[in-house]
Structure formats: C-alpha cells, structure tokens
C-alpha cells in the first residue's frame, strides 16, 4: 500500500474546469487515505507543472502519483517521464480521464460530471495505492531475418535488410527466384523486361554474402517470438533450422483462374487469360498468330474474378486495367493493324499509368463499358467469337463485335497456399483471404504477431512499385527492431501463479498470440507465458478456473480498489457555474462573457491581432491570453485568420 500519493487535477484551460468543479475535487482528494498532496492546476502537461510535480515528489517523498486530466492516449508517456525523472517507478502512476469521459461527455450536466470525476479520481488513487513497480522487459534479438517468398518484393527487401547488417534467409518455394515478374515481358514505365529486373536483383543478392537463398524450400514449423523465432525449412529431403529475430512475409498472390465456361473460357481455344496472351505477344514475331491463325482483333474483358458484388472477391485488383492497356499497346508496338476492344467496367489506370490509357485511345482502341448486372456474352457459334454487350457509354445500346481472340483480364487473389503460411505464422487473414496488417494506414506492414511483417501482394492487390514499397517499409521496420541487438517491451503481461495453476489448457486455447505453453515445474505441468509474445490483452485471466493468471497493472487488488473507489459518492457541493458553462447550458445569453474576454474583445475590436499583441494591448500575461483565447475560439467568439507577416503567430479576429 502506497502511503504518499500526489494527486493533480487539470483545468485544461477551462476544457475540464468549465464543467467539472476541479477546485472542490482538489480539496476533497486531500482527505483521501494515503494522499499527501492534492492540487488543481491550469495545465497539468505544461513544463511549469511538470517541474512542480518533480519538486513535490522530492520534497514530500511521494511514492505514487495520479493525474486527472485527458485521455491516457495523450499523456501516459508524459507523466511516466515525470515519475521517472523524479526517481519513482513510472508504473506507480495512474492517468484518470476527466476530460473526454467527464467534462466533454457530460457538458449538459456539470454536477454529474463532477460526481463522475470524483469517482474516477478516487479509483485512480485506489489503483496506485496497490500498484507495483515494473521494469520493461529486455529481450536480446537475433540479427537475422527470414524472408518468405523470393519474388520481386522479397528479393528487394532482402537486399536492404542485408545491407543494413542482418543475415537474411531468403526462402523460395519454386525452383527459381523472381516469382511472377520473372515471366513477365516489358514493364511500364521503364520498358525493361521483368526477367531483366529480376536478374539485376539476383546479381545484387549474389554479391551480398549475408543473404542465403533457398529454392525448392518450404516453410515448416515456426516457434518463438520477436527477437528469437525458430524456423524450420524443408529443402528437398533436408530439414534446416534457423534462429531469426524477425520474419518478413512476401509470398505474393495468385492470378484468378477463370471457371470453365466463364466468358467461354476453356470452351474455345480463342478465349485465353491476359497472362497467356502476354506470353503469346512476347513469343510472336512479325505477326500475331494464335493456334496457327492470324489475330487481327482482340477483345479484352476486364474485371474477371474481381469486383464481384456477390462473390468473395469484392475488391479491385488495381493493376489489371493498366496491365491490359499496356498489353494492347505492346501489340500495337510489335504488330501492324490489330484492332482492340476494351470491354471494361471502369478504367482505373491511376497516376502516371493514365498516359497508357491516353496512348491506347490515341491508337484507336475502342473502350466499351458494361455493368456487373449486365455482363458481356461471348458467343462461340462461329469460328470467330462474337461478343454481345450493352454499352453504358452509348445509352446501354446493345452492341455486337467480332474478335479473333478474347482475352480475360483476370484479377489477383490470395495464394491457394496462403492459409498454410498464415496458420504457421499465426497471421490473421481477411475475408478476401489476403494477410491482414494491424491498421491499413497507421501500421500497414505490421501484423498482430510482434516481429512478423508482411509486404507486397500477399497483403492485397498491388502493382510492382507498391509491392516493393511495402516490402521495403517492412524491411526498415525490421531493421529498427533488430539493429540494437535488444528491445524493450512493455511489462504489462500475463503472470502465472505456479501454485494455483493446474494446466487445464483453457488459457492457451483463448490466447490469440500463441503466448501460453505448458512447462513442467516442481513435478507438475503449469502454464508459462512467453513475455515477449504476450500483449497483455488479458483474455486469459477471466477463463482461468483457478484464478492463477493475473495481468501486471491489472491485478485483482488494483481492479477491486478501483471499483471501491468509484462506488463512493462523497459530499460534493453544487457550485456557481462558470460563465462559459452557463452559456453551454443555455442559462445565459452569449453576451455575458468573463471579464477577461471583454478585455480581449475590446483589444481586438475589428482588427486581427496575435497573442503577444493582445497581451501588450491588454496588459494581461500572454499565457492567460492563450488559455482564454483558445476557449473563446472553441465557443466561436474569435477565429484564426492566418499567420502574421513573420509567420510566427496566428492572428485572431472577432467572429460575427
């Protein structure tokens, strides 16, 4: 039990104190058990207050602190830092949210907001009085990385990882590196052949002694956690074992394989996929010939196997429009007089690829737009396929066209073996069967498994540029983790009470991170938590029938004392409302402002001024002007009108 607790309650410049009676709460908290000092402060996060807190901790020999201000998302690390600098353990501090959860949420009921804040702050005091000092978990990391899949993304990422000093095991299932790009012809925009790009990467890989490439290799069992993964790889008959610090998954994708009969696929040799057509273009010379017959017209049908409103593949594969238009231009480049019909649902040649679309239109390619509900029909009665389509660009007119060859522009799908990879590495997959990142924008290459990253098209449809970008992003994330040789992890993890545990496996079953394993201890099996994999999510604690698991910082003592703290109501007196609170509550008109607002309004009066200018004019301290001006801005009394000439301060004017 802590006996010397400091409590700091923040006004947030009125954001909190306009509704929550922080002054009264400050006085009430002084009476709580173990509280040595309790203060209300204008801005808890300000430098001045942080210094005061450190002084208080030193002078009053505090052993724990509670800050009641905003969301822990915002300032947990700020006040942990304060605690650390003052010499107390950063985990002996509790953040109580009285802004988002009290003043902002209950601005219509200031008294109730104050009562709720009272309970929450008491809960915070209860929590720190039982909190324990924790140290962050240090883990030594292997400076080695397994890159799974040696396509363009994996190869490119392997090179950067190796150059940054890690040993890279590049594991490829096929007999050759390079993946799908190795078999692709000319690429937009550089005009190189796919094989040339792969060859260049391969040369670079061969020069780097710290990349080991395994072809015909299959990923076997994976165990361990960030910093120390143990990976089995089957190369032919041989079983190899590696110890790596991190894993980068760049396993790529499959092209959608059309069903038999889908747009006449497999019913006629004149209906082929874009991949086969590309091979035909590259292998033909002088004349475009398919099965001995010259090809004079090609109909491309887009979005095959993609953008299905009813099927699994609801997404757009984003690269196929460009690929088809590019193939068409390649045909014009190599062969004379081949007509092209692009039967599409929308042309999405985004970014610089738009130039291809424009070029293709210039060459006279005909674009016809259909909708999913009225797809084109390929008729195979004659030797030449005939396509019937309702063109949405010609008032849905029903059109027919003859083509020597029908090319199905197929989208991308998750690899058939992706479930195998995902189950070995425990990477979650989406409903589209592609691997899922934690957050598409904020953590785009991280997976929920610490130390396992994804890059390239295994995560969802991407073109080559985008695939390489994401793989390189994964490589730099990995380097950031491995370069120091050790990493510090949050100590908020599950702990097992060996005496109470009877190993029933329930905790292991619910763990999403595979962090619980049985071990033998004193002659019986008990659960052991891998602290480097555990995220402290807490799902295991409630399922334990013998209550043998607790989470650091969320122990029963802490939670129970929080509940006790929250349940008592205390003696809170109603207070006279602040002016702005009265405004919000509709009790006064907008004309009645605090006196200082009237000073500021008179100072601005039709002009637009910066904070220092207002301070000089009113003779009021600029800090105070800042606080009030921010509140006035929030209540739409003033508004910013851009920077001053030196671009150092915002100017404010009165809002009409």
């Amino acid at each position: 039990m802590k006996q010397r607790i400091g409590v700091y309650i923040c006004h947030c410049g009125g954001n909190i104190s306009d509704y929550v009676d922080v002054e009264q709460l400050g006085k009430l908290m002084e009476k709580e058990d173990g509280v040595i000092i309790s203060k209300d402060v204008m801005f808890a996060c300000s430098d001045a207050n942080q210094k005061d807190m450190i002084n208080d901790i030193n002078e009053k020999q505090l052993d724990a602190i509670v800050v009641a201000s905003c969301s822990p998302k915002l300032h947990t690390h700020t006040f942990r830092g304060v605690a650390e600098r003052a010499g107390i353990n950063p985990y002996n501090y509790a953040q109580v949210n009285v802004r988002e959860q009290c003043s902002w949420a209950h601005s219509d009921k200031p008294m109730d907001a104050t009562i709720k804040a009272y309970g929450l702050i008491r809960a915070g005091i209860g929590r720190v009085s039982h909190s324990e000092a924790l140290e962050s978990i240090e883990i030594t990391t292997q400076k080695a990385v397994a890159v799974i899949g040696a396509g363009v993304s994996g190869m490119r990422a392997a090179i950067d990882l190796a150059r940054m000093g890690s040993h890279v095991y590049l594991i490829e299932k096929e007999s050759k590196v390079g993946g799908k790009i190795a078999n692709t012809g000319k690429l937009f925009m550089t005009g190189e052949n796919g094989s040339e790009v792969i060859e260049r990467l391969n040369q670079r890989i061969k020069q780097l002694s710290n990349i080991t490439v395994f072809t015909n290799a299959n990923l076997g069992k994976v165990s361990g956690s960030i910093g120390n993964f143990f990976i089995d790889v089957n190369v032919g008959e041989e079983l190899l074992k590696f110890n790596v610090g991190s894993v980068l998954v760049t396993t790529g994708f499959d092209f959608y394989q059309p069903q038999e009969g889908e747009y006449g696929y497999k019913l006629s040799e004149n209906v082929i996929t874009l991949q086969d057509f590309n091979k035909l273009i590259e292998s033909s010379n002088g004349k475009l010939v398919h099965n001995g017959k010259p090809v004079k017209s090609v109909a491309y049908i887009y979005c095959v196997g993609n953008r299905q409103s009813k099927g699994d593949n609801k997404y757009c594969s984003r690269q196929c429009c460009t690929a088809a238009v590019h193939s068409s231009l390649r045909v014009h480049e190599k062969f004379e007089g081949v007509k092209a019909f692009h039967i599409h649902r929308d042309i999405r040649t985004y970014g610089k690829q738009e130039l291809l679309y424009q070029e293709s239109s210039r060459k006279g390619d005909i674009y016809i737009k259909f909708e999913e509900k009225e797809p084109p029909v390929v008729e195979l009665k004659d030797s030449k396929p005939t396509i019937r389509v309702k063109d949405y660009l010609t008032s849905k007119k029903e059109l027919t066209l003859d083509a020597d060859l029908v090319v199905l522009v197929t989208g991308m799908v998750a690899r058939a073996d992706s479930s195998e990879i995902s189950s070995k590495l425990k990477i979650p997959v989406g409903s589209d069967k592609f691997f899922n990142e934690i957050h598409p924008k904020l953590k785009p290459v991280e997976t929920v498994i610490k130390g396992v990253y994804i890059g390239g098209a295994c995560q969802g449809p991407k073109n080559i540029t985008e695939s390489v970008q994401s793989a390189l992003s994964g490589a730099s994330k990995i380097n950031a983790v491995l370069r120091k040789g050790s990493i510090a992890l949050e100590p908020i993890v599950a702990r097992v009470n060996a005496d109470a545990c009877a190993w029933c496996n329930k905790c292991a079953e619910v763990c999403e991170y595979d962090a619980v394993k049985p071990i033998e201890s004193n002659g019986k099996m008990i659960a052991e938590v891998n602290i480097s994999t555990c995220t402290g999510c807490g799902i295991c604690a409630p399922v334990c029938p013998t209550n043998a698991i607790e989470i650091a910082q969320y122990t029963d003592n802490e939670i129970e004392s929080m509940i006790d703290g929250f349940m008592s109501k205390g003696e809170i007196e109603a207070r006279e409302l602040e002016h702005s609170a009265k405004v919000e509550a509709g009790k006064v008109g907008m004309k009645e402002y605090p006196e200082i607002w009237n000073h500021i309004i008179r100072a601005i009066n039709g002009s637009s001024l910066t904070i220092p200018e207002i301070a000089a004019k009113t003779g009021i301290e600029s800090n105070l002007i800042t606080w009030h001006l921010m509140t006035m801005n929030r209540y739409s009394v003033v508004e910013p009108v851009g920077l001053n000439d030196e671009e150092s301060y915002y100017k404010y004017k009165l809002k009409k």
């Binding site: 239109s361 674009y367 010609t394 059109l399």
Partner: protein
C-alpha cells in the same frame, strides 16, 4: 442491335476528323454546347457512334446538321478530341452519303479529284471559247444561259434526288410515319432556317458577338440576290442603273465578307478555323473570286475596258462554271440546303412525336 465497325475511324478521318477516339466520354462537350438539348443531345453521342463505327445510326441522325460549329466543345475538351471538328467531318461524310453520284465522297477524300475537275473545266471552256472564235458577245450570251441551265440542271439532277435520299435515311428508314399535313405545318421552319440561319444565333459565340451571324446572313442574302440579279435581271447586260448598282453592292458584300472568312481561316484564332479541309478553302476562295470577278467584269463593262481585256471575262466564267458544277452540287455549298432541311425534318419528327403522345 448494332455491330461495331472499328474501321470507321479511318474512313471518317479521310473526311477531316481528328483524334476523336481520344474521347473518354466525360460529356463536357455536350454540357457546354448551347444548342444541345435534353432531347437532341450532342456532340458526345456522335463522337461515341463514330468511335464504335455505328454507320447506320449516324446516317439516320440529323444531329450533325444541328451543330453550327462555334468550336466551344473543341476548346473545352479535356482530351483534345476535337468534337467540333468531328461534327464537321460527319457533315462532310453525310453529304457524301446523301449524294447518289458518289462524286462528293470522291472530292472530299481526294484533293486530286478536285484539281482534275477544275482543270477539266478550264480545258472545256478553252475548247468551247475556241469553237466560238473567242467571240465576246456569243460567249457572254452562252455564259448567261449557262447560269440558268446550271441552276436548273444541278438542282433537278443532283440536289433534289440527294434531299430525297436524306429524307429516306432520316425520316423513312427510322419509320417516322408523319402524315402529310405535318409536312405542311413544319414547312415554315425550312424557309426560316434557309434564309435566316436563325439557329446560328443560339451558339454561345454568336450570342457573345452577333456580328458573326450577321456576316453570314449578309453573305447568304447577297449571294442569293446576286444570283437573281445576274440570271434574271441580266446584270452584265442591263442598262438599268438600279440593277447595276444592286449588282455592285451584292458582289462587293460577297468579296468583303469572304475575304474576312479567308483571313480567319489563315489566322486560325478560333477553334473552328483550326483545321481547314480543301473543300473549306475552295468554298470560301471561289466565293471570293466570284464576287471580285463579277464586280470587276461589270466595272470593265462600265469603263469600256472589257473589249480589250476579254480574258478577264473568261477567267470569271471559269470560276463560275467550276463553282456551279463542282462546288455547288458536290462541295460545301450543299450545307445551305441540308442544314435547312435538317431543321425541317427535325420539326416534322417533333410534331409527329407530339401527335403520338
């Protein structure tokens, strides 16, 4: 159901169309067109038909004639697909389709055909004049008669059958079964548009500056009245001061206006003058030449210079014959008729639809 013809683009390009297949169907051209309406919307639809090569749909459409080529659509096209120029080319193509002799198409597609035609006229005239021993009086006498017969002949043999064909393509084939009384009811539309080019006033550019319309209007009126003055009032033979002055004024207006037109085609400041086909050049230059030579011939008569400069009359007659038997029946002159008939047929369709409802 219509069949796509990817080769149509090549065909229509021979009539002057530019990169219209660059169109990505944004519809800016239709949105900006002051003449396009909800029921009669263009030019995007025509661009689309041309891209797909739907010849039958284009042939049965009157929309190309409903455009007066202000050029706003070409100026505002985000893809530089020149929809205005496509509409112009479609009018040339339609002229060729309406023409039963097939000569229009030949002339539009091949500059050489024009030149051969012009040369043949020169040779013919020289032979003809030679046969008459270069007798000034006789030649001028026949020249006067030629004008009468040319007008009647060209109209009866070429223009009238072609208008009937236009009617077949746009009214009969699309099964617009309009009762006769509608033809009478709509007739005023034909006359109004033929003599006033009223629709041209609706164009954005003309609205900004109605001088453009006035110039064109004056040209049409002067041309028609000069025709009347020379053929029926025998301008070159007349002693009537009023007739003489009338002819001078009419021919002066013609060459002044056409001089301005030629200048605009050289300067290319407006979208519609950016691409001039041979047929456009011949049309304005021959009108200019006709105005100026007719003016000069009458002037030579009045100051008694023509006897010693008879070659000048022959030059005038050459221009006149080339105009009358090449440009009028097969060249750009026909837009005068087709535009007004198109407005007439559109009115017939409208009235017929109203009855059906």
């Amino acid at each position: 159901m219509s069949h796509i013809n990817p080769n149509f683009a090549e065909e229509i390009k021979k009539f002057g169309a530019k990169d219209f297949h660059l169109c990505f169907n944004c519809g800016n051209c239709t949105a900006i067109c002051a003449l396009s309406t909800k029921d009669e919307s263009f030019p995007r639809e025509m661009v689309r038909y041309s891209t797909l090569g739907l010849e039958e749909d284009i042939k049965s459409s009157l929309k190309p004639w409903m455009c007066y080529y202000c050029g706003e659509c070409s100026t505002d096209c985000p893809r530089q697909a020149h929809p205005g120029e496509l509409m112009m080319s479609l009018r040339r193509w339609l002229t060729a389709k309406y023409d039963w002799t097939g000569l229009s198409g030949l002339l539009y597609k091949h500059l050489s055909a024009y030149i051969i035609g012009f040369l043949l006229v020169i040779v013919g005239l020289l032979v003809f004049a030679g046969n008459l021993d270069y007798n000034q009086e006789l030649i001028m006498h026949y020249g006067h008669y030629f004008e009468m017969f040319a007008i009647a002949g060209v109209f009866a043999v070429i223009l009238l059958p072609n208008i009937v064909r236009m009617w077949l393509y746009t009214i009969i084939n699309p099964k617009v079964k309009a009762p006769i009384k509608i033809y009478f009811k709509a007739f005023s539309e034909l006359i109004v548009h033929m003599f006033t080019q009223k629709r041209f006033l609706g164009c954005e550019k003309t609205r900004e500056n109605s001088i453009k319309w006035f110039e064109h209007f004056m040209l049409v009126i002067s041309y028609l009245s000069l025709l009347f003055t020379t053929v029926f009032l025998d301008w070159f033979g007349s002693q009537n001061l009023f007739v003489i002055w009338l002819g001078y004024i009419e021919s002066a207006i013609i060459f002044i206006v056409t001089f301005h037109f030629v200048l605009k085609r050289i300067q290319k400041t407006e979208a519609l003058h950016k691409f001039s086909q041979p047929s456009d050049w011949f049309f304005v230059i021959w009108l200019l030449l006709m105005g100026i030579t007719a003016f000069m011939v009458r002037l030579f008569i009045d100051i008694h210079l023509l006897e010693n400069n008879f070659w000048f009359y022959l030059f005038h007659l050459t221009v006149l014959v080339q105009w009358a038997i090449i440009i009028v029946p097969f060249g750009k002159w026909t837009h005068f008729l087709y535009r007004s008939f198109a407005m007439y047929f559109v009115r017939i369709q409208e009235l017929n639809n109203q009855i059906k409802k």
